[in-house]
């Protein structure tokens, strides 16, 4: 009898264990009481103080191999020490897989409390589903929220869905051309050519000298090249130049861009293994002085500047002293100046509706976002990129490098900065066009019309 009782008890325990992972929801957290309606600030209850330390769950982009991982981890540690709260830090490198997993969290009701996410097209489902809280709504209760951020930067993060700002940007981004001035000097160039004809002549000269002109990972990250080639065609209309139908104006521009890619590919400006080269290998080619240039973002500056070994030893890359930053050669200065860049604000920290409606977590989340976006931390994140602060902070001398300072000067002197076109596309379109079809077109396996038709289909 005793054994039977134990057996039954164990079996019951096992059955109960099945439900251990099911989330319990406190009445205060509730399902989403405001789903379908975004309450006005006046309707908000006054903030309630949590009874004690709480744990908040945060999904951010400052994880994995991101150059700001350490800065972000330090900011979290400081927040935890100051408040006694605990942060369940679920950060990772932001790619399409990560983006999908964050959206899936929201779709299945496993909303994090705070999320650092895209403000343009990939983030639209959060706005459409009323999953995050606007800055105005938070400021109605916490007037100091994001007061250190310039209104221009906040407006730059406004959602395309309703024009309202939900995200607090931490750093803007820019894309440009990193080049090795010593290799250019070898073939007789003392500065980077500004017009297209001279640029092609430079690539030919480098090729003839046995130097790989452009370190490009054709299936890794050809998006930077694409953005500049497209900006050369349309200038400030870049973010609204998605083709809607074959033969429309944007299709013509994309066709021209594809032809440029094919020229680079056929003329041997790319490495011989460009279709199998990883992005990290491409960056290393420039860092080692084996390629003359690469098109990339501010996040690539770290890879060109320093190398961190697994034991933490930091060494300067071989070609660092010779690396300079430039915009991108222009095909028509009236459309786009060579000294203009692709960039802007495309992501930021947002507090979720679920956390905002939970009195136990509301203040902890507001404090967290204010802590990780304070002046000191944003200065650290910004590094070589554009800072959204009202009064940009000065990076500690120890964190600065000569290349970083050179990049800052070039960006500060830039004439224009255009938001990227790819940020307005669906993940399917980005993956299909940028990381598959451009390479297939270059290899002669797809026509321009097929590539554009795929893009149109995938973007719906």
């Amino acid at each position: 009898m005793k054994k039977r009782f134990i057996s039954l008890a164990l079996a019951a325990l096992l059955c109960l264990a099945l439900f251990a992972g099911c989330q319990s929801t406190s009445p205060s957290a509730g399902s989403n009481p405001s789903a379908g309606s975004n309450p006005s600030p006046a309707e908000n209850p006054s903030p309630e103080q949590p009874a004690g330390p709480v744990t908040i769950r945060v999904r951010a982009m400052f994880g994995g191999s991101d150059s700001n991982k350490q800065n972000y981890d330090n900011a979290i540690a400081a927040y935890e020490t100051a408040t006694g709260n605990t942060v369940q830090n679920e950060s990772a490198t932001a790619d399409d897989v990560w983006t999908g997993s964050v959206l899936a969290d929201f779709e299945v009701g496993s909303d994090p409390d705070v999320v650092q996410f895209w403000t343009l097209t990939p983030g639209n489902p959060l706005i459409e589903g009323k999953k995050v809280v606007s800055v105005d709504e938070i400021r109605a209760v916490y007037p100091e929220y994001a007061k250190n951020i310039s209104e221009g930067a906040l407006k730059g993060c406004a959602s395309p869905v309703d024009g309202v700002t939900y995200a607090i940007p931490t750093n803007g981004y820019w894309e440009g051309t990193f080049y090795n001035k010593a290799l250019l000097a070898q073939v007789g160039y003392d500065s980077f050519p500004e017009n297209w004809t001279d640029f092609i002549a430079l690539c030919d000269a480098l090729k003839a000298a046995g130097i790989t002109p452009i370190a490009e990972s054709l299936q890794g990250e050809p998006n930077y090249t694409f953005e500049f080639l497209m900006a050369n065609q349309v200038g400030s209309a870049l973010p609204s130049s998605t083709p809607k139908a074959l033969g429309d104006e944007a299709s013509g521009h994309i066709t021209k861009v594809l032809e440029h890619f094919k020229t680079f590919y056929d003329n041997g400006y790319y490495p011989a293994n460009t279709t199998t080269l990883s992005r990290a290998e491409a960056v290393q080619m420039v860092a080692d002085g084996k390629a003359a240039m690469m098109f990339g973002g501010h996040w690539n500056r770290g890879g060109l500047d320093i190398s961190t070994a697994e034991d933490g030893t930091v060494t300067t890359q071989a070609a660092t002293d010779n690396i300079e930053l430039f915009g991108f050669p222009t095909e028509n200065p009236a459309v786009r100046s060579a000294n203009s860049f692709v960039g802007g604000y495309s992501s930021g920290f947002m507090i979720t509706r679920k956390a905002w409606d939970d009195p136990a977590k509301r203040k902890a989340c507001v404090d967290f976002v204010m802590a990780v976006t304070n002046d000191e931390n944003i200065t650290n994140y910004s590094g070589a990129s554009a800072s959204p602060l009202k009064v940009p902070g000065k990076l500690p001398e120890a964190d600065s490098t000569p290349l970083l300072e050179r990049c800052r000067k070039v960006i500060a002197a830039g004439e224009n900065i255009y938001p990227a076109l790819e940020d307005t596309w669906t993940a399917t379109a980005r993956e299909g066009f940028l990381y598959r079809d451009i390479a297939l077109y270059c290899a002669g396996e797809l026509t321009a019309d097929e590539v554009i038709q795929n893009l149109i289909n995938d973007n719906q």
């Binding site: 057996s7 790619d95 897989v97 999908g100 046995g210 011989a272 293994n273 080619m285 399917t428 993956e431």
Partner: protein, 307 residues
């Protein structure tokens, strides 16, 4: 021991309930939902299906129609079938050869077992990074070695003419080598254990009858370890269908030019990167059907028999 528990069956049923419930929640229900999704238009993970036409229909066969016109899916199926052949021939073949060799030595057999089994304990991600370095284009271990021995030459400017081990002509070989290398030890251990169970008396009798080494393997060893060998072949066939991590680490997004997708990696790309869950579910159905077909085929060909 009280034998009541064996006389009455219902307590056993109670013990089976948790496992059955787990399988229902995490295998049967997702499997059925996957089939449902394969007939629907579903975007990113977690989102619901959307109407497939203006009439508001929720079900269609569009994903299956796409499957038959999708050239990349054809490449993925072909590569998966080739991977199955390669694993059977090379993984089990090399494992059998090594097991026979180790079985024939008197000293150090245990050491060899440990050495050959060792790759199994290394994570696929680590192996992927390791082999990426081996097959690296510029300065990779293999290319450097070939340069040193003169197989790789230099152009007129003195630059080495590296071999791209990941280009279309080499990619499949480069993908198979680490996959085979990783699992040879697994089958080696199974086969070595099977060889241990063969009585030495039989070999001694054969030797007295004048049988040479090859004849002993052909007429004694192989028939006596037939069932073990069949187990290995079945595991290798089914395992080849599930290979994912190593190829994905070395050939993400089917590089170069969509030529290295396997059914598993293509399903992942469609579901997680391209956020096309409906089509990913369709590919998953194909993988499940291939698994059933392969296991039935292996049962038919390799039917175990009593010795």
């Amino acid at each position: 021991m009280d034998s009541m528990i064996y006389k009455r069956k219902w307590p056993l049923v109670i013990f089976l309930i948790p496992a059955f419930a787990l399988m229902t929640v995490f295998i049967f229900y997702p499997f059925l939902m996957n089939i449902l999704n394969s007939f629907q238009k579903v975007g990113s993970l977690g989102t619901g299906p959307v109407p497939v036409n203006e009439a508001g229909d929720m079900f269609w066969t569009g994903n299956y129609e796409k499957l038959f016109t999708d050239k990349t899916m054809g490449v993925a199926v072909r590569n998966t079938l080739l991977m199955m052949c390669a694993t059977v021939i090379f993984q089990v073949g090399i494992a059998l050869l090594l097991a026979l060799l180790v079985d024939s030595i008197r000293k150090g057999a245990q050491t060899y077992r440990t050495i050959y089994f060792f790759p199994i304990v290394i994570s696929a991600s680590a192996l992927g990074l390791l082999f990426n370095m081996v097959f690296l284009y510029d300065g990779g271990m293999l290319n450097e070695f070939l340069l040193r021995i003169g197989v790789i030459g230099r152009d007129e400017l003195g630059n080495p003419q590296w071999i791209d081990w990941k280009d279309r002509s080499h990619a499949f070989f480069t993908m198979i080598v680490p996959v085979v290398w990783q699992y040879v030890g697994f089958y080696f251990v199974i086969l070595a254990t099977g060889l241990n169970n063969v009585e030495t008396d039989i070999y001694e009798a054969a030797a007295i009858d004048g049988a040479n080494g090859l004849q002993r393997i052909r007429f004694i060893t192989l028939p006596l370890i037939r069932n073990t060998l069949i187990t290995c072949l079945t595991l290798a066939l089914i395992g080849a269908l599930k290979v994912f991590d190593l190829p994905w680490q070395m050939f993400p997004k089917g590089i170069p030019l969509n030529s290295t997708y396997l059914t598993g990696t293509y399903m992942y790309q469609q579901t997680f990167a391209m956020q096309n869950v409906g089509y990913g579910a369709t590919i998953a159905v194909v993988i499940a059907l291939m698994g059933v077909a392969v296991s039935q085929l292996s049962n038919l060909i390799f039917r175990p028999r009593d010795i």
